[in-house]
Structure formats: C-alpha cells, structure tokens
C-alpha cells in the first residue's frame, strides 16, 4: 500500500470502481476513521506511557484533601488527598484493558457459538432460544448478579460484562453464516468432501471478519461504559484500583463541594468511548456499505 503514489487517483473524476480503491483511499473518504483513530490513539498512548510520568495514584496526602484543580494538582485532589490527575491517567489503562478484553472474549465466544448455530441446523433452535433468554435479562443487572456471586475482581468484572454481550455477537455471526452457507463455493467445498471444521474455518470464518471488527469496536465502547457504571454502583472492580468508575463512585459524596472528582474522569471516559464509537461508525461505513446506506 503506497501512500499518495498517484495523486491523480484522488481526483473524483478519476476515481476507479470502489473495489479498486486502495485501503488508504477508502479510509481517506471516511474522515471519521481518522478522527476516531487519532483520538483513540491518544487515549491509548496516555494509558500505556502516561502512568510513568504521574505521581503515585494511591499516595495519600490528607492535609491536601479536596483541593480544587491548580498547578500542583491539575485535576484537584480527592477526599484522601490523592491526585485525581494521576488517578485518571491510571484509570485510562484499566478502562482500555477492560474494553479490549471484553470485546476480544465476547467476539471469540460469539464467533464459535454463532458459527455452530448458523451451520448446524439441529442445534440452531436450541442455541437461539438460549440467546433470546439471555438477551431479555437487562445487561447491567446480569453483570451485577454475576459479580455479587463470584466476588469483584478485574477478571470477574470482565466476564460479567462479556456474558450479556455474547448473544448479540452470536446473532450477527449466525445471520452472516446463514447467507454464506448457501453460496456456490460452500456447496463446491461440500461436494469436494471438505470436512466441516475446514469449511467453517476456510469459507465461513473469513466472511464474518468485517462485521465482527465493527461489532468489536461497539462492544469495546459499551464495555467501558458498563465498567464505569458497575464501579459507580459499587459493584465493579475492587475500590483500591483507580478505574474511572471507582474514582467517580468515591467522588459522589463530595459532589456538591468537589465536583471535579466526578467531572474529569467522566470527560476522559466520554472522550474515549466517543472515539471508539466514531471509529466504529467509520469502519462500518467502509467495511459494510450495505448497512452504511441504511444507517
């Protein structure tokens, strides 16, 4: 992929058929991918290297508690005198880890179940009824129940957010599989005696990748929101870990006198989720023009 190898090709009148556009040209025509990507890149950078440059996010300093934002504490301090800026920067790491872990696991599990459900007719009815049932349980309540049963750790919170996301992935994968399985090349593969696992891997799986990437970004965004809500309700990651939800949960009591404890992590979270969603919208338009026309 050469960037700007042929600047003429960028001119509208000489744009070739869509299939011949290079990936870079397609991305150029969807600025939301660039905007979302840059914003998300910045947040990832903050999450990865930011914690190296801040003070200790759990260091107590009771004399300087509930200080408003100032030169020494950019985002002020909380009720124990901890630096909110340091905590927000560390929280970026946790939110991103939760978002990425949830979307990877949910898509992984959903892919397997969805392919089985879409391809093996006998299991389809049973699997889809189970998914219908799971989908009618409100996601946040389901996550709260799972966490209160298994104890709150980073791992259980991730699993608790994954479980309600899986049915949505399964439905999407299944619908792709149902259309692909009727294609002539799949019939040809069956006629040639290809085994079932190989058909699924070689012919079905590649068709699910584009919609799955789009779905994964949306799941990543909603997982970060759910994590913060769980933390806020006191049912999330253990309170000693500075996740954005936890910082805001601790700021609740002092909201009327120290609103910055809630506002700064809230802004950070909103910007991160927004960048993921913008990126998702852009990729949906690029990867799946059929849906793009509808939405």
């Amino acid at each position: 992929m050469s960037v700007d190898a042929n600047p003429q090709a960028m001119e509208p009148e000489s744009v070739p058929a869509k299939a011949e556009l290079s990936q870079w040209q397609i991305i150029r025509s969807h600025p939301s991918i660039i905007i979302g990507g840059i914003l998300l890149g910045i947040m990832i950078l903050i999450g990865v290297i930011g914690p190296l440059f801040t003070v200790d996010p759990i260091a107590l300093n009771p004399i300087k508690r509930l200080k408003p934002p100032q030169a020494e504490f950019f985002f002020g301090t909380d009720f124990l005198g901890r630096d909110v800026f340091a905590r927000v920067v560390h929280g970026a790491r946790i939110s991103l880890v939760v978002g990425l872990a949830v979307s990877a696991i949910a898509v992984g599990i959903g892919l397997i179940i969805g392919m089985i459900s879409g391809y093996i007719r006998v299991l389809d009815a049973i699997i889809m009824r189970i998914m219908d049932g799971l989908m009618s349980i409100p996601a946040i309540l389901l996550a709260i129940a799972l966490i209160s049963l298994s104890g709150a750790t980073l791992a259980t919170v991730v699993i608790a957010i994954v479980v309600p996301e899986v049915p949505r992935v399964v439905r999407l994968v299944r619908s792709v599989v149902l259309t692909v399985r009727e294609e002539p090349y799949v019939e040809a593969a069956i006629a040639a005696g290809t085994t079932l696992p190989l058909i699924l891997y070689r012919h079905i799986l590649p068709n699910t990748i584009a919609p799955m990437i789009v779905q994964a970004t949306y799941i990543c965004g909603s997982a970060m929101l759910t994590e913060s809500i769980l933390g806020f309700l006191g049912a999330g990651i253990p309170p000693e870990i500075p996740s954005w939800g936890n910082i805001m949960a601790e700021g609740r009591t002092y909201f009327q006198i120290s609103p910055w404890i809630i506002f700064y992590p809230g802004i950070a979270l909103a910007v991160t989720v927004l960048s993921v969603n913008i990126l998702g919208d852009g990729m949906r338009d690029t990867l799946d023009p059929r849906i793009a026309r509808k939405m």
Binding site: R129, I130, D132, G133, L134, M135, S136, I137, P138, A139, I140, L141, L142, I144, A145, L146, S148, L149, S150, G151, G221, S222, L225, S228, I229, F232, L233, G234, A235, M248, F255, Q256, P259, I262, F263, G266, I267, L269, A270, V273, L274, V276, N277, I278, D281, K294, M295
Partner: protein
C-alpha cells in the same frame, strides 16, 4: 390472526423458562461457595450456614429447581435476607417512582426523537441531519451518571432552578412537585434513548422515502407534511416501535443508575441497596421481574404490529 396471537404468546414460554433456568443456575454454578461470597468477608460460620439454608442450597439440585419453579409460578420471587420481607412486597413498595420515571422518559423520548429522526431523514445531509447524527453518537458515549451530575451541577446547584435530588409522588404531593423532581431524571435517562430512537427513525424514514409510493404521492402534488406523516412515518412505524421495545432493556439499566444519582426510592435504588447489603435474593428477584416485564412489553409490541401495519395479517 387469532392463531398468530396464540402462537406468539406460546413462543414466549421457552424464553421465560430459559431466563428462569439461567437465573437458577447462576447461583448454583458460580465458582466457589455462593453462600460465603454473599455473606461477605466478616461473616461467621453460622451466618454462612443460615444464608445457605435461606437460599435452599443444601438440597439436591433437582429438588431445588422444582421447588423454585413451583414458587415462581405462584408469583413468589424469594425472601430478602436482610429485611426478611418477600421480594414481591419490596418491589410493590418501590415500583411507583420507577414506573413514573420510565413513563415520562418514554413519552419525552418519543416526542423528541421521532420528529428529530424524521426531520433528519427528510433533510438528509443537511446540518440538521449532521446534528442529529452527532447527538446520537455522543449520546451513546456519555455515561448516564456523568450526565446526571452535570445537570445537577448546572441546573440545581448553579442556577437553582430545580431541586437537587429526591422524588415526590404525584398522588400525595400533587402534580407540580412531582414534575419539578422528575424533570432532570427524565432528561438524564432520555439522552441515550433519544440517541437510539432518533437514529432508527432516521434510518427507517430514509428507506421509506425511496419507495415508489412516496414518489407517486409527491408527483400527484401532495404536500411534504402529508407525505412525511401519512406515507413515510406510518410505514416506518414498525421498525421504530420494535426498537422502542428493545430499548426498554437499555432503559432498565439506565433506571438503576439514574435513580441512584437522583436518590429516587425506586426499583433501581433497591438494586443498589441490595448490592451494598449483599442481599442476593433481591437482585435475583429483580432480574426475574425486569426480564419478565421486558418479555411482556416486546410481546405486546409484536402483537400491536397488526394495528400499525395492515399488510401484516397472519
């Protein structure tokens, strides 16, 4: 059509059974001893035994399930560990604020989102359209509680227009106190719902506007308002109403958060109190309750399609 109604009602039974079975198994199959997790870090051995007894975890699993389904069928959602009251009683005490908040939110959302979405579809590509789309992306990105606190900070603390928190019943305190307390929670809870419905309305109306009959209607000189209302919106109603139904799940999650931000003594607040008090039977009962409500609403919506769309005749 009668057979369709019967079929659709019967089709909800497996879903209800699966929800019930899942909620049942969740407690029994969770790793470790749920009784000791529920009892918490400072529980004595007696506490754990008592909780295990209360949850009926000592009996064989099939016996547990039969008993559990039996009591569910009689409308028994279990007994709270902490207050020793039946969960149904607790739900009864707390349902009014939640019901009112969801109703005001749904009404407000439909009144705002459907016209906005229709306008965006009609003026596709204009600044109105861009604005609506931007709002709907942003609406999905801001956590409900942050929005709530921003509203409280600006409207209640800085401007002092509305009370900060709390709930007043319409029946006990009158309409005005009720409205003053419900405006901010409704706005907060509506944002994500408006984002969803406006987006869906825009998409469905845009699709209908490309139909031949819309062109015909315009060609015969019908006014744009009539084209939009009579031809476009009416035919776009089915997907819009479907999304309103599906969005109820989103709303239930939002209610829990909104009620805790505004200190509203409803079902969402009950969930939060149950989490803090480690009162698992309440959480379990509320999951069942909300899931059944969700299934019921979507059943009613499915059945109502025959009214919206005369083409649907089964």
């Amino acid at each position: 059509m009668f057979s369709y109604v019967i079929k659709r009602i019967l089709a909800t039974i497996p879903v209800i059974v699966i929800v019930a079975a899942f909620v049942f198994l969740m407690l029994r199959l969770s790793p470790g001893d749920p009784a000791s997790v529920i009892a918490g870090d400072y529980a004595t051995a007696e506490d754990i035994v008592r909780i295990r007894e209360a949850l009926g975890l000592n009996e064989p699993i099939l016996v547990q399930f039969t008993k559990w389904v039996g009591s569910l069928m009689q409308g028994d959602l279990g007994i709270s560990i902490f207050t020793n009251l039946p969960v149904t009683t607790l739900i009864g005490q707390r349902i009014e604020p939640t019901l009112m908040l969801t109703l005001t939110t749904i009404i407000f959302t439909v009144l705002v989102a459907v016209p906005l979405g229709t306008l965006a579809a009609w003026k596709a590509g204009s600044w109105i359209d861009r604005g609506v789309m931007l709002f709907s992306v942003a609406g999905f990105s801001v956590p409900v509680f942050v929005l709530g606190y921003i509203l409280i900070y600006v409207v209640a603390i800085k401007l002092q227009w509305l009370p900060v928190q709390g709930y007043r019943s319409m029946f006990e305190h009158g309409l005005w106190p009720f409205l003053r307390h419900i405006i901010m929670p409704t706005l907060t809870l509506s944002v994500i719902f408006i984002a969803l419905i406006a987006r869906m309305t825009r998409a469905s109306v845009m699709e209908v506007l490309q139909e031949d009959y819309v062109r015909t209607a315009r060609a015969k000189g019908q006014s744009e308002v009539k084209v939009l209302l009579r031809h476009a919106l009416r035919n776009a109603a089915v997907p819009i109403v479907t999304v309103i139904g599906i969005g109820i799940a989103l709303l239930i999650g939002g209610v829990v958060v909104t009620e805790s931000v505004y200190n509203i003594p409803g079902l969402g607040r009950l969930v939060l109190d149950a989490v803090l008090a480690r009162d698992y039977p309440i959480i379990q009962g509320l999951i069942l309750f909300f899931s059944f409500i969700y299934i019921l609403i979507n059943l009613i919506i499915d059945l109502s399609y025959t009214l919206f769309d005369p083409r649907i005749r089964y």
